[in-house]
């Protein structure tokens, strides 16, 4: 999946370069598309909460993957399915380009310091491999966890455990392992760790 998307967005980028000045006639720019999302996702993709997720600093691939999943219905949503159906794959790539270059302003969220400490350890053990820098890095196209709104992360975990969203095979394995050992308390600790991020 990842490579396919990378190839596609490379193609989009090249055609964008070739068209250059004429690109405006072809369709809306990355900025124009990105700006329309701000009413729900916050100015430049840093959400003021309490629940709608940030998009700022997510990787281009991650945004494209989510939009594609919303559009084809494979990822559950309250509203993104209806929104994603309004755009093409090329436009998803442009949106991803826009949000990948925005800096995330992490909000202050309540957390329990003791649980956050435990969460940090669990994150290191089970999640850091693909959610690097304590869940702040976009590098693995895995979505930003550090500073993400906790209600949104809770909904996401509920969707993963129900049939709303599928985990990758490897993440599922790690999650299962953690669940077996730590149970729901493990998730609770992780949420406190992500809420603590500054």
């Amino acid at each position: 999946m990842g490579t396919k998307i990378k190839m596609m967005s490379a193609a989009v980028l090249t055609s964008g370069l070739l068209l250059s000045g004429a690109a405006t006639a072809a369709g809306a720019s990355a900025d124009a598309l990105g700006y329309t999302c701000a009413g729900c996702h916050g100015f430049n993709g840093s959400s003021r909460g309490p629940a709608t997720p940030h998009l700022a600093s997510a990787s281009q691939e991650y945004v494209v993957e989510m939009m594609t999943g919303y559009k084809d219905g494979s990822i559950a949503s309250t509203i993104m399915g209806r929104i994603a159906k309004g755009y093409s794959d090329e436009q998803f790539a442009l949106m991803g380009e826009f949000f990948a270059k925005q800096k995330l302003t992490k909000p202050k969220q309540e957390f329990d310091a003791k649980l956050a400490k435990k969460g940090a350890k669990l994150h290191d053990k089970y999640c850091e491999k693909c959610h690097a820098e304590g869940g702040s890095s976009a590098e693995d196209d895995s979505g930003i966890l550090a500073g993400q709104w906790v209600p949104y992360l809770k909904y996401t975990f509920a969707d993963y455990h129900g049939d709303g969203r599928k985990m990758g095979k490897k993440m599922k394995k790690k999650m299962k392992k953690m669940n077996k050992k730590e149970g729901d308390a493990g998730i609770e600790a992780l949420l406190n760790f992500y809420a603590e991020a500054k």
Binding site: T36, G39, P50, R82, I83, K85, G86, Y87, W149
Partner: protein, 431 residues
Amino acid sequence: MSKITRRNFLKVSGASMAMASAAAYTPFAIGGAAKKVVVVGGGMGGATAAKYIRLMDPKVEVTLIEPKKTYHTGFMSNEVISGDRTLESIEFGYDGLKKHGVTVVTDRVSAIDAGKKVVTTEGGKSFPYDRCIVSPGVSYKWDAYEGYDESIVDKIPHAWDGGPQTATLRDQVAAMPDGGTVVIVPPPNPFRCPPGPYERASQIAMYLKANKPKSKIIIMDQKEKFSKQGLFTQGWKRHYGYETDNSMIEWLSSTTGGKVSAISKADMTVEGEMDTIKGDVINVIPPQMAGAIAKTVGLTNDKGWCPVDGKTFESTIHKNIHVIGDAAIASPLPKSGYAASSEAKVAAAAVVALLGGGDAPHPTYVNTCYSVIAPGHGISVAMVYDYKDGKIVKVEGSGGLSPMDQTDEMRAREEQYAHSWFNNITNDTFG
């Protein structure tokens, strides 16, 4: 002759590079004065446009003229009426815009000379512009019903602007005895925020159910159907006994007793074509047209709204004046805050491009309206729009309503997302 050392060379080339780039990036400076944009109205459309022009091109001088020191949003004002949030929580100032370099003038625009390109204010000041953006919201047709005029609002508020009248209506509902009647009179189409009156009925019902359960809400509509009707009806059935003998909400369509002919402030009655209904609280939301200044300037058509080109929002009547928000005819985009914000960004990009001598870029637009029917029960409508063959069009297959068979979990999420939307759109506009 001085030797060109490596150090000197770097200095020289650095300086000439700086000059070259200064020339490349300040096209307006060459012609002398910086380009000027004057924005009329600091609501959702105007404030968003002012901020985004500054973001897109910080060399453009932007002046925003707005008579009020602070702005109250219309959206979420129904939650103020139900007591779910404070009036202060929907109040926003202009410091954020000032930080983006917008000059904010507290005054009311009294005229625009489209030929000379000058805006004048009641305070007697003049503001020349290269392009002007007008976003004055709506004004009200005070002659719509017999006995109805502007002097009525202390007792029969419309509460359709947010602000003081919202507080009046809230206090009236709070002071009403248990067993009292609230009458709501929504306007005919088109008007600001199509789901708004029905969200209002829901929010007042939420308050009454918890505090004054013997009370009733009667909606006397001037229409045969309304926005998100299926979803509202479903929610009312579930929470407020709709269509049972015990229903807290009764909706009368225009042909089933809703049509209103007269209002009496002295008797607190609404005279319909079939019955005259007495209310302990009466909320008449009058029929609407573009904000008064639009008519003064001659930007309106015979129906009172402003025709524009959907790609730039430039008036089709007066060149160099762009009209956005509720005042503009932008259908299929509805008259909503989200639409006003989306139109503002399209207009801002067009204005910046046109000032620079280029063509307006290809636009893209989104609209969403959330409504909270009861605690934990949020619903929404959304749509993506494109510009095709000279018109704004809905993108086929996109948008629509929250599904009727939505789970409780998802309805509860929508309530959280509705409140997130409020925080984010206001920060996008005023932050």
